[in-house]
Symmetry: C2
Subunit: 516 residues, 2 copies
């Protein structure tokens, strides 16, 4: 994050009033700001007008203004003495179903001050969106869900500010990106109709809301930009992700894949954007993410194989003794097994090659990845045939979605010039391994770009400049949502993708295995 | 008030959502309204978004919307069933220093429902603006002044609504016109700098404010348009008056004179507007209005004279026994006396003509207008030489202001095509009498147009159509404020105007007296 200056902090020296120019204090200041910002509309709340005459005289008409831009107008949120060097802060929030992440920024420069995260306190009510929507229909259910997330945020904000020796009142602007349901629960909107045909949110584009109306304990005049959604299944978190990826600016077509609780895909360039959400139909039952455990300390995230000895070299997060394998580890493992001929093109364990490493547990084949003596759990860490079957379905689903969305606009997956992978998944996954198993298309590796928490980073961009506010609306308006029809075409593609790397190996020329 | 339809109430039948059009409820409604209103910006408060999904379904997507227009955007304030026939009300308020007048309207048609008035409860703190501004500087002084006017309004609103079997919550839009200080006290703004050089208000153009922010007990989402001011001495009441007079539309130059606590004058046409406020300098000490008592039941407002017998024919308000004379009565009286030769061109009583009707009381000449036996007070109703001297100064001041402002743009008072007289004064005054004494220019009588309470009527116009909102801003931006310089020119004019009708009788060709 470079120390660019944002438009939010404007230091203004006003000509003091005189008999020749008796413009009122408020109008004098707003006029100067509107010239500076090249806008006609700068709004000021009544309670600040009430303080303005004394403050302007106290500061000798030389002031620092703290501003924000709503959809139709700028907001003058605070004035201080021109010399005031106290930090005016902004807060970007990624409102995740499972985890909520906050990034505190210096509003003047856009520089990050600190980050923190907490488990969404609604998780105790229901782990997933559906459970929470049903809970919201109970008496006071919506209120409880809303209070949980708002008080969770207030508590996290207080701690985050304390770590920076700031007060929550020093936060003037917030940008919040979440999926459609989380955004509804945060705003106190009933999500009832999100899950009922024809799946209608209460609002698509909430725009800018006063923080106090949302119950947030920050500056009393602070404003909150809430990212818009496209519909019940394509939320503000993804709009933020697109904003951060920049695919909407590129001349060449790129793709953004966000694998979180769901898998969402956006394809496009500066002229058009097309999107679909992955959990569509029975073929994808189980989802792309039902692979391995959640990434965390001691979890295997990378695996390689000594080709002579068929010994695994594992890497765990924080280099702790291994206690399980996460999604990226499972993909690495499958790729290595396939390359070494330990699984065949259908993903079945080849016992002749695997040797004594294969055990039968509960009537099912398991491959020991880490023997009990090397593991943190005092038992073998294994991957079962069922796990591998599940991985094959997941990777086939992923590739089929990519094929379907690209085919819908006459592009081949292999033609994509940039491939952005968002989320924790994107940070840990090894694209080469994903290509080897045919989960991702066979592109030169440098076209793969991990984005990290793109929802949070997109929200943070909204705190850098008002130009991003316009882009957010433009992205929302420009996206065509592709309903994934699980028809015969889709099922044919899915069947073809259930082989490693694919039935049509010409699609994966770079994948070399001992089986070829 | 005709039953035109206003833009505030829009009945909309929305296409219910479907799989083919999954636009969210809020966006669906706002989009339909923005097409209807030909605007891109319709704002909706969060608490209404929260209710919208259930309401739209309950009403079958056929709804009545209640709207208002702020400066940069429309506001959707409420939705009801399309068939709902309950009245949505608007309230125009003339926020007078002495008296506050309310007009309740049907927001759908603009038709007046009822009016009421009450004495400004700040009057007990200080009768005039200056006393109140000083009081506002005491501890809690501003708060007390603000609470007095706000609670006075809330109580009047409750009564007015009750008389119409409405609830205050049925009032959705308000328009408030008052002088600059009254507007400040109403908004809780410190008026301290209004009376200190260089006389700077806290705000010129407050625009639209939420009623709740002002403490008004009406609909919780109601909005209040507050008329802008030009400066400390030219307030929103006058902007409202100009709006109501329409002089800003006319091709020919007209004038608006508002004689209230102060005397303000606006001259102009569709191309330009020039304004001045009358209480300027020692020459006008005492003001134009320090004539007679306040109009009210039993007060003489018209007087004529039997030319043969020199008997007065008096008319009192409500035809009650006379108890005093108000300003318009004094002007009538002076005109009759002058025409009959009972006062001379300097306004001095001519005892030879007046005969026994003149008495000396306390060493000063008095003319008996109504003998004790005919009066309600059991004593003679008289006018003293001092009263007449005061009238001469007042009328000279009035004419001098008119001459000065017209001269500033090269127009003669006699060239004015329309002469609007606002306020109670304008409703009661007999222009012929005012011309006879040289207070008003010698124009054909049909050019004189009384406007009544033009501040209230202008505020009511803002409740008729959004086009008036734009006009309000245009009027404010177009006015040039003329500082009345009491220089040698002014004093020369003033001296010349201290004769009846004027030193230069050619200016008053229609005035015939026995003295000619």
């Amino acid at each position: 994050m470079t120390k660019n200056s944002t438009p939010w902090i404007q230091t203004v020296s006003l000509e003091p009033p005189s008999i020749k120019d008796n413009t009122a204090d408020t109008d004098r200041l707003l006029h100067a700001l509107s010239l500076r910002l090249n806008t006609i509309a700068v709004h000021i709340d009544l309670d600040l007008i009430r303080q303005l005459p004394e403050r302007l005289r106290q500061y000798g008409y030389r002031i620092r203004s703290i501003l924000w831009k709503g959809r139709q107008r700028w907001h003058l949120l605070e004035v201080t003495a021109a010399e005031d060097s106290r930090i005016a802060a902004g807060l970007a929030i990624d409102l995740g179903t499972t985890r909520v992440v906050l990034r505190l920024l210096n509003l003047a420069t856009g520089a990050t001050l600190a980050e923190s995260a907490f488990d969404n306190p609604q998780g105790k009510i229901g782990p997933d969106i559906l459970a929470r929507i049903h809970f919201a229909e109970k008496e006071n259910g919506l209120r409880e869900l809303n209070e949980r997330i708002v008080s969770g945020l207030n508590s996290a904000i207080a701690h985050l500010c304390m770590s920076q020796q700031l007060e929550p009142e020093h936060i003037y602007a917030l940008a919040v990106a979440g999926n459609t349901t989380m955004t509804h629960l945060f705003m106190g909107l009933n999500p009832r109709w999100i899950i009922r045909e024809p799946y209608i949110p209460a609002v698509n584009a909430p725009g800018t809301v006063k923080a106090t109306a949302l119950g947030l304990q920050v500056h009393p005049r602070a404003r909150v930009l809430i990212f818009p959604n496209i519909g019940s299944y394509f939320g503000g978190d993804l709009i933020a992700g697109i904003l951060y990826s920049g695919i909407h600016h590129n001349a060449q077509t790129g793709i953004l894949v966000d694998v979180g609780t769901n898998a969402e895909v956006v394809l496009g360039n500066k002229n058009w954007l097309i999107a679909c959400a992955g959990a569509a139909g029975p073929a994808l039952e189980g989802g792309v993410t039902r692979m391995g455990m959640t990434a965390g300390p001691g979890v295997i995230d990378q695996i390689s194989l000594e080709t002579d000895t068929l010994e695994f070299n594992i890497h765990t997060i924080d280099d702790l003794p291994p206690k399980g394998i996460c999604g990226s580890g499972v993909i690495d493992l499958a790729a290595r097994l396939f390359q070494a001929g330990m699984i065949d093109a259908r993903g079945k364990l080849v016992t002749a090659v695997c040797g004594p490493r294969v055990k039968t547990i509960g009537g099912q084949l398991h491959l020991v990845v880490v023997p009990a003596e090397g593991s943190d759990t005092d038992s073998d860490l294994t991957i079962s045939q069922a796990d591998l079957d599940s991985l094959i379905r997941s990777k086939a689903a992923m590739y089929t979605i990519l094929e379907t969305i690209t085919a819908s606009v006459g592009v081949a997956p292999q033609d994509l010039q940039s491939f952005y992978v968002a989320g924790t998944f994107g940070s840990f996954i090894n694209p080469a391994s994903a290509i080897t198993i045919g989960m991702l298309p066979d592109l030169p590796l440098d076209r793969y770009k991990p984005l990290g928490n793109s929802s949070l980073s997109g929200a943070a961009l909204a705190l850098q400049s008002d130009k991003y506010h316009d882009e957010i609306d433009q992205i929302r308006d420009r996206i065509t949502y592709l309903e994934l029809n699980v028809n015969q075409d889709f099922m044919n593609r899915f069947s073809a993708a259930k082989f490693l790397p694919h039935t049509n190996t010409k699609l994966f020329p770079s994948v070399k295995t001992v089986q070829k």
